[in-house]
């Protein structure tokens, strides 16, 4: 049974078809990259999966249960965690409080006390290496620290599926390599399936994902093992661009 199955998902905003008939199956334990140029519908797809808005068509099945019409706050405790492209910390709260929120509301048990959640938070803050900042107001963190905090916050929810949105955008290449290593490690340690979405950093996709889905103008262009997908001519065409002199529209 697939961990997550998307069946013909379509999401429109007025006349704009942001996600067009996308189907995808994710098995437990996979590392998947979703790539595509700006505006290709990746974030919308994430929003549909995490329940920010319902799709017009299609079904979302998580662990065999149809969650298409479930509100976002009920999906999260089932094991769907996510981070945001532009970090969205609860700014006035400390790093520890932010991560504690994940532990408090993001799990099904829901019986854990505030103090216990604080302890769980400490564990994940240490895991992402933010222990020196744990009492800081999260709004004062650097962008990279905010991204790390969001990962800790999502991990504290004990997700089965972790949706990461541009986690590595704006990072130094060395930090990207560190992050890829870190993601591989937590994937094993915490037994999480990770979907990572990236726009430009092929280094991250190539290093991390075993399988890649490429999106273009809301539709699925290809879904294949990473090396195969990234060398597919169609992908190169719409996404990476052709080497100069090869195609007619190369100069454009």
């Amino acid at each position: 049974m697939a961990l997550l199955r998307l069946e013909n998902i379509t999401k429109r905003f007025g006349g704009l078809v942001a996600v067009n008939d996308v189907s995808l199956e994710i098995e437990a334990g996979e590392s998947i990259g979703i790539v595509g140029p700006n505006g290709s519908g990746k974030t919308t797809l994430y929003n549909v999966i995490s329940g920010v808005y319902p799709p017009e068509h299609g079904r979302i099945v998580f662990e065999g249960k149809d969650i298409t019409n479930l509100p976002a706050h009920r999906r999260a405790p089932m094991g769907i965690g996510r981070t945001f492209q532009i970090p969205r910390p609860f700014s006035s709260a400390s790093v520890r409080e932010n991560v504690a929120v994940g532990a408090m509301f993001g799990t099904l048990s829901g019986k854990v006390s505030v103090d216990e959640c604080s302890e769980i938070a400490e564990h994940y803050i240490e895991l992402v290496g933010l222990q020196a900042h744990k009492d800081k107001e999260s709004g004062t963190l650097t962008p990279v620290e905010k991204k790390l905090m969001e990962i800790a916050r999502a991990l504290a929810m004990k997700p089965k599926l972790l949706l990461m949105d541009e986690a590595m955008a704006g990072m130094h290449p060395r930090d990207i390599d560190d992050m890829v290593r870190f993601l591989k490690k937590i994937k094993e340690d915490e037994d999480i399936t990770i979907v990572s979405m990236v726009e430009h950093i092929m280094r991250a996709v190539a290093g991390f994902a075993e399988r890649v889905m490429v999106m273009y103008r809301g539709a699925k262009l290809i879904d294949a093992p990473t090396t195969k997908a990234l060398s597919d001519p169609r992908v190169i065409d719409v996404y990476l661009g052709r080497p100069t002199g090869e195609g007619e529209d190369a100069e454009g």
């Binding site: 509100p71 706050h73 609860f90 006035s92 509301f105 993001g106």
Partner: protein, 333 residues
């Protein structure tokens, strides 16, 4: 369940201030009315803070709760005074009616307005407040625009002596008690899951949802609690104390604005803030009216603006930053 007493340390300064106020008012001749007014502002600030301070939703219609609380007390005294033998119980019936009416309007507002955000929420709340007022006046409910007068009923039940005691002393003491309860609820919420959820909602409601927070549920909890406390304040400080109620006097947005000023002055979302804000606001308004009668509002506005500029996060917001890392930290919330 293990209760962590240290979580409640911030109540110590709050209760110390309330006790001081009470003793000053009680023993210094001529100050009781001032102290009662200050307690009224502080209690309202704290009640309002539970919703607005913690969720960031600006509820311009908050005065609806205070007004309905007043009507609850008016109805309790007017209609239950005929049952001889109820005695003091009619005051409690009045309080129950205040809670009942405020629950109804809170659920109505939660159903309509809480689906909206930002300015739309604020406007919807004003609309509900004005709508209720015109409904009462137009449909002649509860005396319509002529309102309700029930001093006679009160004296019939309690006798003149006791009725005077009730309206001039016990109504004010009750406001103190409500303030004490409101302070406790503030701390309890801030230190519990509810507080974490509300902070998350205030900072980023959509992110809160995908973190697993049932935002509607927590907003409604805060809204109801805040409304109940407002209604109790209304029932006592207006309903019992004044022994009359007119729709044109109680459904007045001006009181909501006072709440906002008090909480913003003191520090939004803090425990001590509404208390400090209530004291600053009440005292300056009172003294300015004595020193510069007629000009008080002219002076008052610039003073408020200066304080906001000097303390952009409210007085307590700034103090909180100052004491961070010191031993005082655990007493300031």
């Amino acid at each position: 369940m293990k209760i962590n007493i240290a979580k409640y340390y911030p109540l110590i300064p709050v209760y110390a201030v309330y006790l001081t106020m009470f003793l000053v008012g009680f023993f210094v001749p001529g100050l009781w009315q001032l102290v009662a007014l200050l307690a009224f502002y502080c209690a309202l600030g704290q009640s309002w803070n539970i919703f607005m301070g913690m969720t960031g939703y600006v509820d311009f219609g908050y005065v609806t709760f205070i007004a309905l609380g007043t009507y609850g007390m008016a109805l309790g005294i007017t209609y239950f005074s005929q049952f001889a033998g109820l005695g003091i119980a009619i005051i409690f019936i009045g309080l129950l009616l205040a809670l009942f009416l405020s629950t109804l309007s809170a659920l109505l507002e939660a159903g309509i307005a809480l689906r909206l955000r930002g300015a739309y929420f604020a406007i919807a709340c004003i609309g509900i407040n004005e709508g209720l007022r015109h409904l009462i006046e137009g449909a002649k409910i509860w005396g319509g625009s002529e309102g309700m007068l029930y001093w006679k009923e009160l004296t019939e039940v309690f006798g003149t002596e006791t009725a005077i005691q009730l309206t001039t002393l016990w109504a004010d003491i009750a406001v103190f008690i409500i303030a004490v309860i409101a302070a406790f609820i503030n701390v309890y919420y801030m230190r519990s899951k509810i507080g974490y959820a509300l902070t998350a909602i205030r900072e980023d409601e959509d992110a809160a949802k995908v973190m697993g927070i049932n935002t509607t549920k927590y907003k409604t909890i805060a809204f109801l609690t805040s409304g109940w406390l407002g209604a109790l304040v209304g029932a006592m400080a207006w309903g019992l104390k004044l022994t009359h109620v007119f729709p044109a006097d109680v459904f007045v947005i001006h009181y909501t604005v006072e709440c906002i000023v008090i909480v913003v002055l003191g520090g939004i979302g803090t425990l001590l803030g509404p208390l400090v804000g209530g004291l600053i606001y009440g005292l300056s308004k009172y003294w300015l009216a004595i020193i510069l009668p007629g000009f008080q509002l002219l002076i008052f506005a610039p003073i408020i603006i200066c304080i906001i500029i000097a303390f952009p996060e409210g007085v307590i917001g700034v103090v909180k930053r100052r004491v961070k890392g010191t031993r005082l930290e655990r007493y300031i919330l």
